[in-house]
Symmetry: C2
Subunit: 145 residues, 2 copies
C-alpha cells in the first residue's frame, strides 16, 4: 500500500479532464484559423448566433468566462468587424454585444467545422452521449453551490 497512491497521474480523474479540454481546443485552432477565429471567439459567436444582443455578463454566465477574459476578446472581435458593443440605455453599467452582417455571415462558413471535429472523436454515439451528460453533471457540481 502506497501512501502516495492518490498522487499518481494515472489515478487522477482531473488530469484527463484537463488534457482532453486542452487537446480539443487545439484541434479546433487549426480549423478555425481559416475563419480567422480562436476557439474562445468561436464559442462566443456561437452564443450570439443563437441569441443576438447578449450582455457581457450573460455571455460570461453561458461560457463560464469573466470580464477579464471577455472584454479583450470582444474588442478583438469588434476590430475584426464581427461584432459591435453598445452600452445599455436603461442600465449604463451593462454592455451588449451585437453581430454585424459579417459576423452573421460567418455562420455559414462555421457550419463546416463541427462535422470535421466529429471525425476526430473516436467515440460511438452512445459513448459521446454518456460523456456529455457526465461532464455536465460534473460542471454543475464544480460551479453550482
Amino acid at each position: 500500500m502506497d501512501k502516495y497512491e492518490s498522487l499518481k497521474l494515472d489515478n487522477q480523474l482531473c488530469f484527463p479532464l484537463y488534457a482532453a479540454g486542452k487537446e480539443v481546443v487545439r484541434k479546433y485552432h487549426a480549423l478555425l484559423d481559416e475563419l480567422g477565429l480562436t476557439y474562445t471567439q468561436y464559442i462566443t459567436l456561437m452564443v450570439l448566433w443563437e441569441t443576438d444582443g447578449v450582455s457581457v455578463k450573460d455571455l460570461g454566465g453561458r461560457l463560464l468566462l469573466d470580464s477579464g477574459t471577455l472584454t479583450p476578446l470582444l474588442k478583438s472581435l469588434e476590430k475584426k468587424g464581427f461584432v459591435t458593443r453598445r452600452r445599455g440605455d436603461a442600465d449604463e453599467r451593462m454592455v451588449f454585444v451585437y453581430l454585424t452582417e459579417e459576423g452573421l455571415a460567418l455562420r455559414d462558413r462555421a457550419v463546416g467545422i463541427p462535422p470535421r471535429i466529429a471525425e476526430c472523436v473516436n467515440l460511438t454515439r452512445e459513448e459521446a452521449k454518456t460523456l456529455y451528460s457526465l461532464l455536465n453533471k460534473l460542471i454543475s457540481g464544480l460551479t453550482g453551490e
Copy 2:
C-alpha cells in the same frame, strides 16, 4: 429542421469538455495556493514524484505539453527551489529534471489535495470510472494517429 443545429452550444460535446477542464483547474488553484504551486506545476511534480530525473521531452509526452510551456515552468519551479535541471552527459541536447529535498518534501503536503478535490466531484465511483475511461479513449483519438 435548423441547418445551424450543430452550431448550438448545447449540442456540442466539446464545450463541456473545454469548460470542465477549465473549472477543474480553477478548483485546484485555490488549494494549491497554499503550496505555492499552479496546477501545471503540480502535475509536473506528480510525474517527478513517481519518476525522478525525467527529461523535458518525456515530461512533455506525459503531460501533453511542449517545451514552450515547460521551459519557463521548470525555471519557475527551479527558482522556488523544488527542482534542479541538468544537461544530459551522453546527449547534450537533453535536459533532465530532478527533485530537490524541498520538492520531495512537498509531496507530504500534496497528499491532502486529492481528497479535497474529490469532495467537489459529485459523481458516483461508477460514473467517475466511466468518465475516466471515456476521456482517455477520446484523448488517444485526438492525439494518437
